[in-house]
Symmetry: C2
Subunit: 342 residues, 2 copies
Amino acid sequence: MAEKDKVTIYDISKKLNISAATVSRALNNNPKISQKTKELVMKTAAKMNYKQNKLAQALKSGKTHNVGVIVPYINRNFFSSVIRGIEEELSPHGYHVIICQSHEDVNNEIKQIDTLLNTQIDGIFMSVAKTTQDTDHIEKVLKENTPLVFFDRKKDVTGLSSVTIDDFRGGYLATEHLIKQGCKKIAHFSGDLNLEIYKNRHEGYIAAMKDYGIEPIKEFSLQVNSKLESGASAIQDLWSEDEKPDAIFSASDYAALGAIQELKKMGVKIPEEVCVVGFSNEPFTKYMELPITSVDQTPVEMGRNAAKVFLEQIEGSKTLTIEKKVVLAPELYIRDSSNRNL
Amino acid sequence: MAEKDKVTIYDISKKLNISAATVSRALNNNPKISQKTKELVMKTAAKMNYKQNKLAQALKSGKTHNVGVIVPYINRNFFSSVIRGIEEELSPHGYHVIICQSHEDVNNEIKQIDTLLNTQIDGIFMSVAKTTQDTDHIEKVLKENTPLVFFDRKKDVTGLSSVTIDDFRGGYLATEHLIKQGCKKIAHFSGDLNLEIYKNRHEGYIAAMKDYGIEPIKEFSLQVNSKLESGASAIQDLWSEDEKPDAIFSASDYAALGAIQELKKMGVKIPEEVCVVGFSNEPFTKYMELPITSVDQTPVEMGRNAAKVFLEQIEGSKTLTIEKKVVLAPELYIRDSSNRNL
């Protein structure tokens, strides 16, 4: 298109008989402009083939109003709910969210951070992959003066903020609840103990046992993947021994469900003989005919808080580094899989 | 950093004692380079603070190797599985996937297409929002010569390819199965009939009934949202009448689950008195104590096929427009909610 044909906001303002300032605000998703006007302006702009010079705009304001989110998987309710929280908080400020999934592979993370930095996002939200040890790619973001906020799974990098839940407390709450149901031989299915979240849940379990004067049985602590099959096979292992647990506290809902299915197959009564508690409060836990007790990680709150930390940083001084650690309290949802109505 | 300090691939090649060509291939995720070498090169590049000049690279090859995917929601198994299929197919070709969710709002779609075009992605995969009527924003992508492939929910735009499933056949299969279980008064919970997919499932239901000589009862066709509560309240409505259905074919698994929960509350036996079939084969359908029969939309296959269509377009001539319509066959998974073992 020749330069003289270039459509400007003044052409749109003339066409719609509204001020150019209103057109500009509508195009930038300013919360002061009504939804109806925004739709009208955007449709008209699209019809007239109007192009905002995003790069010039970004250079002027220093902002693209895009942020990136990197999660291990999008198809876990926990992660998709955190993303919802981030979007709910940032959308009124005109930000758009771009999502990448690492599939738990640090090499994907490295590439995605490059991609996001190259597309000039204003910030990155991240929950690290299980395989992430080195933090060079994360420090690179710091060097570029781009705010990065960790949520749930973090790395200790000076200058970076994080929003997590108190996983120790989550593990403690779940175990204490089982003890109060009369359980003494409580087994724990932890995830990979190299990940801080699983280590903390495990420590919460140990601490609760000791607080109530119960010595944890070493053979009852198993590293179990977050999968149905893994939960089922852990039950097979435990039940092949003479001494059997009277409760399972699983650090994952999926392994908890696998355990329940396997116990039922063996004719073990839940919660009468064995109580089961999961972690994450995945939606299916409440759909089941035997709803599963689980620890809720308040993911939407987590996302909202991460977004607030980001906004504070971006609105603050460029030279001031804010390092903020927000820790949210988990909540236990008691359901039939562990409720003996005592 | 001063120009003379700029790290090049030759510095990395020297450091690792491998050829610059290997470094370059590793950095561009060439499938011929081993995973081990890629990791080593990427870590070293990050440590040396090497920056690929992505823009120069993109101008040279005309490619950024990023693609965008726009879906209504990421937290539906169907959509996250399609994305997995796209990633599985494109990843060996060195492509990265950026995800945006429209939350069923066409205004988000408009903004996201702008964002993606501004970040110079090589292509867009898209399943349109329920509220999308106008296609101006979609035609804009065509004008920019960026390939766009629809999946599942499409709009008829000349020049654009799509990968869908045969929803008519899905509706037909589900209904035919219910008829073969001895059901005659089959109710249908459709979604919003303005969306082609729901219209086609509904037509498949009608066609199967007529083929088997059963006149569909008009009052038994209800528009029900894809939510548990909506399925439950539809059952309440139907059971407040004298003539009650002996089967429910729901175009959504969530509404099917809500229906099952409500029927159980009322003491109705499933599948003896009423058979229930859902649609989408969400993972929870098989987790339930009463597993739910459902129509599988082969989402991973859908994603893989959409990616293949994109690769054909991008590898083809720039001046040649390919318009390809791929239609996949759905599969019925028969489970206890409708299996009378006849």
